[in-house]
């Protein structure tokens, strides 16, 4: 996308910041009796990219909807920038931009018209320069006079982002921003999110593409059946829960693991031609150096080795399994 320079920020340099959103004991029970949120406590730090992960129906959209004012909370309190979302809804909502999951637009309105409308709705004075900037950044400038009905799905998605950015929000909610979006647009979206964060916007995104969270998020929250089951710095999460595997391709296949190596909890694979060593990245077990040493002593030679690290997806799946 024009005007957006991708500037990846390693999460390691990201120091904890004060909370911009505080969710305190939030619950939501729908009229049907469905309890969509159960005593949610969550803090979103100023300036971070927070990924909310969860399977379908976990409560992601309800949580976002409640913070944004679309869903009435049953119990609990939410502060946005220190403003209560019920008592000081004007101040709270003025800070928020919301990009909904569904592509909901007015078919017959023009791109320019609908983005200007959003700015006005959020109480901001007309500013054609800002609208132009947003439309240019989202590659929509050439379509500014087009009716929304003539836009492609990807353009509509960008239009919804433009609407959400029209009033210069401090917090941006992206509900499944890349659902049904092609690979190129997805990367553009990631670049956009990073550049927004660079400009100081706090971003909360929900996704079920785990690689998206892995690629972008500073912190990850996992929600399941209306409960937050984990909130963790992404790198920390990967470190804590991530497992590494070292696969050694042996020079000569073996039929059994020698007794001397039993302390390493190895697995034999590939008809005896591969040894697999699984270890926690925190490394409580004997290290790789000791293993290699022991292999040498046992006279087992290898011709190649590779390591693989569990992805956030593996971690996510195992978390949900534990939660069952």
């Amino acid at each position: 996308m024009a005007g957006l320079t991708p500037t990846p920020v390693p999460s390691a340099i990201f120091a904890p910041m004060p909370a911009i959103i505080t969710v305190d004991n939030l619950s939501k029970t729908y009229a049907s009796g469905l309890q969509a949120l159960k005593n949610i406590n969550l803090e979103i730090r100023r300036g971070e990219i927070f990924a909310l992960l969860g399977p379908n129906g976990a409560g992601k959209t309800t949580l976002i909807g409640t913070i944004c004012g679309i869903v009435n909370p049953t119990q609990g309190k939410v502060l946005v920038g220190g403003h209560d979302i019920v008592k000081a809804y004007r101040a709270a909502r003025s800070m928020i931009g919301l990009v909904p999951q569904e592509l909901t637009t007015d078919a017959f309105e023009s791109v320019w018209g609908t983005v200007s409308f959003s700015r006005g709705l959020f109480g901001r004075k007309a500013d054609p320069k800002h609208i132009e900037k947003v439309l240019r950044e989202l590659s929509l400038w050439s379509r500014k006079d087009s009716k929304i009905i003539t836009l492609s799905g990807g353009m509509k998605r960008r239009l919804l982002i433009a609407k959400a950015l029209s009033h210069e929000p401090k917090v941006l909610f992206l509900d499944e921003p890349t659902a049904g979006v092609d690979v190129e647009l997805r990367r553009d979206m990631w670049r956009l999110v990073r550049s927004l964060r660079e400009s100081g916007v706090t971003i909360i995104l929900t996704t079920h593409y785990i690689d998206e969270a892995e690629e972008m998020a500073d912190r990850v929250g996992v929600i399941n059946k209306g409960e937050i089951i984990l909130v963790e710095n992404k790198a920390e999460l990967m470190r804590k829960l991530g497992r590494k595997q070292l696969t050694l391709q042996l020079h000569d296949p073996i039929t059994a693991i020698p007794a001397d190596l039993s302390g390493h909890h190895l697995e034999l694979a590939g008809n005896g031609s591969e040894l697999i060593y699984t270890y926690d990245t925190q490394g409580e077990r004997p290290g790789i150096a000791a293993l290699l040493d022991d292999l040498d002593k046992a006279g087992i030679r290898f011709k190649d080795l590779q390591t693989t690290q569990s992805s956030l997806e593996d971690i996510f799946v195992s978390l949900l399994r534990e939660d069952k």
């Binding site: 944004c68 004007r90 919301l98 909901t104 637009t105 018209g113 006005g120 709705l121």
Partner: protein, 253 residues
């Protein structure tokens, strides 16, 4: 007060009218002209005068009321129903706007449209029949109060409706019959005594009577009562709207 938001919604709604100029303005004008042809020319030639006024001229206030009522309801109900239907209401609900501002903007736009329409019909009527307006300021006041009141009614219907059928239901089954039976085309003095009494339960009678009085100084009921009933209507509608927003009825889950 979020003035920018009120302006944005109002402008959006008025732009919708311009986009749909045919349905919004031209078709009501055509249908009103047809009423003049049928009631004014064909039937009017047999009735000739009602209380000293030519029948064609007598029905003008009633015809304007008929359009004003139905258009106010349809404009306002569609205006708020459509965002619910398409899902764009999320933006309205998440915006820093108060309920009062939402109502002022939507109802204001719907009322503006129907007042413009009422004045266009008045101008159209002037081409067919000789008109006199004895109390123009009262005429405008009744026009304004009725447009706002029935735009509020339309707003309520738009929020209540969960399908296009329901959007049509109240105007078709309640408002149109009440308007036809409310003295649009006749003076209630022309009815048998029993039906005169029954008619007094029809709220539209008071609107039409007051409006007609502002034209010709003729009224079925006193103008004060007409005004009081119109204001009562408006207060009731406002009360219902306030309740809707307080509870989030059909808007928020």
């Amino acid at each position: 007060m979020n003035v920018h938001a009120v302006r944005a919604i109002y402008k959006f709604e008025m732009a919708r009218t311009r986009r749909t100029l045919m349905q919004s303005i031209i078709s009501p004008v055509i249908s009103t002209s047809l009423y003049f042809v049928v009631f004014g020319a064909a039937i009017g030639s047999r009735i000739q005068h009602v209380e000293g006024i030519s029948y064609g001229a007598f029905i003008v206030p009633g015809l304007i009321m008929l359009s004003l009522l139905t258009q106010s309801i349809s404009n306002a109900s569609f205006g708020i129903y459509f965002p619910k239907f398409t899902g764009t209401i999320y933006e309205l609900l998440s915006a820093p706007v108060s309920y009062l501002e939402i109502v002022v903007a939507y109802v204001g736009a719907a009322a503006t449209k129907s007042i413009i329409l009422g004045l266009i019909i008045l101008a159209t009527a002037a081409l067919f029949v000789p008109l006199q307006i004895l109390h123009p300021l009262w005429m405008l006041l009744f026009l304004l109060l009725t447009a706002v009141t029935f735009s509020l009614v339309g707003f309520i219907i738009g929020i209540w409706a969960d399908g296009f059928e329901k959007l049509q239901l109240v105007p078709l089954l309640i408002v149109t019959p009440l308007t036809f039976l409310g003295g649009s085309f006749y003076s209630i003095d022309m009815l048998p005594p029993f039906w005169q009494k029954v008619t007094l339960f029809n709220p539209v009678v008071y609107l039409i009577s007051g409006f007609r009085w502002s034209f010709y100084g003729l009224a079925d009921v006193s103008v004060g009562l007409s005004l009081a009933m119109t204001v009562l209507f408006m207060a009731t509608s406002l009360g219902i709207v306030a309740w809707i927003f307080k509870t989030g009825y059909r808007l928020k889950t």
